[in-house]
């Protein structure tokens, strides 16, 4: 068994779009662009709230969530998701990825909070890509939620005239 403490030289932040950013340890409060190194400061004050100061410019930041090694960061009004990995966990991920099979199930989630107006599919039924599955009303607009895949409906959780939150699962589809 390995020791309690493991020597690590690098950490990786992997974006949800699979871009990899590496940071060497000990961790520095600066980022190197080309040959020059620029100081990064994480600050907080009453006027601006939390922000990052970089190259004389303030960028608003917010930590939306942090679960285990998964972080959602709001940076200059745009959210990014990263998993921070050690060289060891990176290796393990690569192995896992090789083992992954084809996506089998598709979960259709509410893209925004709202009210279910109509459910257009039933359990066991067939659904085609682009077909509407649920009609969701949000901010007084009716939105048709379309199926992104061809498949069979496994489960319908959405019920007409009920309210749903963002990301609530509405329909579960077994992909054909």
């Amino acid at each position: 068994m390995p020791n309690d403490k493991l020597h690590i030289k690098k950490l990786y932040a992997l974006s949800s779009e699979n871009r990899k950013f590496s940071f060497s340890l000990p961790f520095k409060h600066s980022i190197k662009i080309g040959k020059r190194s620029y100081e990064v400061q994480l600050k907080h004050d009453d006027k601006y709230g939390t922000y990052i100061l970089w190259k004389n410019r303030r960028y608003p930041v917010e930590i939306i969530s942090s679960r285990q090694n998964k972080y959602e960061i709001l940076f200059n009004d745009i959210s990014y998701e990263f998993t921070v990995e050690t060289p060891f966990s990176m290796q393990r991920m690569k192995v896992l990825k090789k083992q992954k099979g084809k996506a089998e199930k598709e979960y259709i989630k509410a893209p925004m909070p709202g009210k279910i107006i109509d459910v257009l599919v039933r359990e066991g039924g067939l659904v085609l890509r682009g077909e509407s599955v649920v009609v969701l009303e949000a901010m007084k607009m009716q939105n048709e939620i379309l199926s992104p895949v061809n498949g069979h409906i496994v489960k319908v959780s959405a019920k007409p005239n009920t309210n749903v939150m963002k990301d609530d699962i509405l329909v579960e589809i077994k992909v054909d």
């Binding site: 020791n3 309690d4 403490k5 493991l6 020597h7 690590i8 950490l11 932040a13 974006s15 871009r19 950013f21 940071f23 000990p26 961790f27 980022i31 662009i33 990064v40 994480l42 006027k47 601006y48 939390t50 990052i52 303030r58 960028y59 608003p60 930041v61 917010e62 930590i63 942090s66 285990q68 090694n69 972080y71 960061i73 940076f75 200059n76 009004d77 745009i78 959210s79 990014y80 990263f82 921070v84 050690t86 991920m93 896992l96 990825k97 099979g101 996506a103 893209p111 925004m112 909070p113 107006i117 509407s132 009303e137 949000a138 901010m139 007084k140 607009m141 009716q142 048709e144 963002k166």
Partner: protein, 501 residues
């Protein structure tokens, strides 16, 4: 001035906008305090506040005709300004005001009714030979009739709510197989939104520009236009950015469309401020769409290029004054752009992102005007719209206005909710937007990415995530990681990863 005290039957930025002009004109204003927003910014701009915060009914007071009339009488307001939305285009409300000897700051109930009912408006436009897209004679009562009419006009067609506006109850139909489903959806949506399920069908104009003309008319029959606004940047018929003038119009086309706009306003003896909306196709042919019988959200861009305070004109006209301008007095000078900064998540299909605004500061440069009803500490509540502020920027021409807009966008500081700012930062850098050659299909068809981030922003965000990981996982900031801890979390992580794949 006959009008001494105005009840503002609205909230947010437009309530403040009206009160600012009223103050200059030395007219008192009454604002209504509600339970939903008891500390709203607009209340501090009023001379008198009527406290209605005990009322917790589901229907906002701004939609309750009897209650509003009651408040106006109780507070001795001799006029009501409805703003936009709520009861601004409700003929019955305007009528009720008149019945109670309260001046309604807007057009006549008759004009509101005729232009509000799109099938009647179509007939009036037709009688006056205003160019229009082919459409059904009147309302369509069922799916079968809809299919028949659409076959005659030719697909694609658009189903519209007869009592509609603001993009609700509209559906584009491209083939007859979809008609039944979309007809029912449009009709249901129309009934919910406007209490009227009637819909009609029009030929759908592909990839048009949205061009609208600002109208001013007095009660003596003088009607002029204040030039056009282009509002082609929209998503699901909701406008996001407006500008004045439009780069699609030259003097000749401006005159032709402006004359038509005045003509249709004359047909309903229009007075007050109003907007005639047209679609302009790629052959520069234009089609009357509808007339909005109220002040519009985007009115500031017209104010900037004409130097005319439209709210002041509305009040003067309501006060029976004659228009002080003739058409030949109206000169369009410079360029103005308005960005609607809304609490919406651009990365999640512009889904509303209600919440409390923690920090808010807006640029104060001379080329910037900000209309807002929100300050730090204000909440964006889901019962109202998601607007935080209108950022209005001017320049001597479009190029300078765009440049100023880009600068101003970087100076806006909002914390607490996600906003449409990243969308506008992208837009002002987009070559097609810069060239002026964009249509209402721009967002749907021409965009791959709905937001802008500069080169190193993601890297900086990654730096922050890594810093947080270190702060949470690495002991005493050393270079060692507690391996036991990461092993403990691994089963959970493994499970989650397997589920995701």
């Amino acid at each position: 001035m006959k009008i001494k005290r105005i009840l503002i039957a609205n909230r947010g930025e437009i309530a403040i906008r009206i009160m600012k002009t009223a103050r200059i004109m030395k007219i008192e204003t009454v604002a209504i305090k509600t339970a939903v927003e008891p500390n709203a910014m607009y209340l501090s701009f009023a001379d008198v506040v009527y406290d209605n915060s005990e009322d917790v009914s589901d229907i906002p007071v701004f939609l309750d005709i009897d209650q509003l009339i009651d408040i106006a009488l109780k507070m001795s307001a001799d006029a009501i300004h409805p703003g936009y939305g709520f009861l601004a285009e409700n003929a019955y409300f305007a009528d009720k005001c008149i019945d109670n000897k309260i001046v309604f700051i807007g057009p006549s109930p008759d004009a509101i009714y005729k232009m509000g009912n799109k099938t009647i408006a179509r007939k009036i436009a037709q009688a006056n030979k205003i160019p229009m897209a082919n459409g059904s004679e009147g309302n369509i009562s069922n799916e079968d009739e809809a299919i028949k009419v659409a076959e005659k006009i030719g697909y694609p067609v658009i189903i519209k709510a007869a009592s509609g506006g603001g993009g609700r109850g509209m559906r584009i139909v491209r083939k007859s197989e979809d008609m039944e489903k979309l007809f029912i959806i449009a009709s249901k949506e129309a009934e919910k939104a406007f209490n009227d399920p009637s819909v009609f069908i029009e030929k759908y104009i592909e990839n048009p520009k949205h061009i609208e003309f600002q109208i001013l008319g007095d009660k003596k029959g003088n009607i002029i236009h204040l030039g056009e606004r282009e509002c082609s940047i929209q998503r699901k018929h909701q406008k996001l950015l407006e500008e004045a003038p439009s780069c699609a119009l030259d003097e000749k086309l401006r005159k032709k469309m402006g004359d038509m706009a005045v003509l249709i306003a004359k047909a309903v003896n229009y007075y007050s401020a109003g907007t005639v909306e047209f679609l302009l196709d790629s052959d520069r042919k234009f089609y009357f769409m509808e007339m909005n019988t109220r002040i519009q959200v985007e009115h500031p861009v017209t104010e900037i290029i004409t130097g005319i305070d439209i709210i002041e004109q509305q009040i003067r006209i309501a006060n029976d004054e004659e228009l002080e301008y003739k058409q030949s007095d109206i000169k369009l000078e410079g360029w103005a752009i308005e960005c609607r900064i809304n609490a919406e998540d651009v990365q999640a299909g512009f889904a509303p992102d209600p919440g409390r605004i923690e920090k808010l500061s807006m640029p104060e440069d001379s080329y910037v005007r900000v209309d807002t009803g929100i300050q730090a500490g204000s909440a964006i509540v889901s019962s109202y719209d998601s607007m935080i502020a209108k950022l209005i920027v001017k320049g001597k021409d479009r190029k300078e206005a765009l440049l100023n807009c880009k600068k101003a966008l970087d100076k806006v500081w909002i914390k607490g909710t996600k906003t449409t700012l990243p969308f506008f930062r992208m837009l002002v850098r987009h070559p097609k937007f810069q060239s002026g050659e964009f249509t209402t299909a721009f967002i749907e068809k021409d965009l791959e990415k709905f937001y802008y981030n500069s080169e190193y922003e993601e890297l900086l965000a990654a730096w922050l995530a890594t810093k947080l990981f270190i702060d949470e996982n690495l002991q005493d900031n050393s270079i060692n990681i507690d391996f036991r801890k990461s092993r403990e979390m691994s089963p959970w992580l493994l499970n989650k990863r397997i589920n995701q794949f």
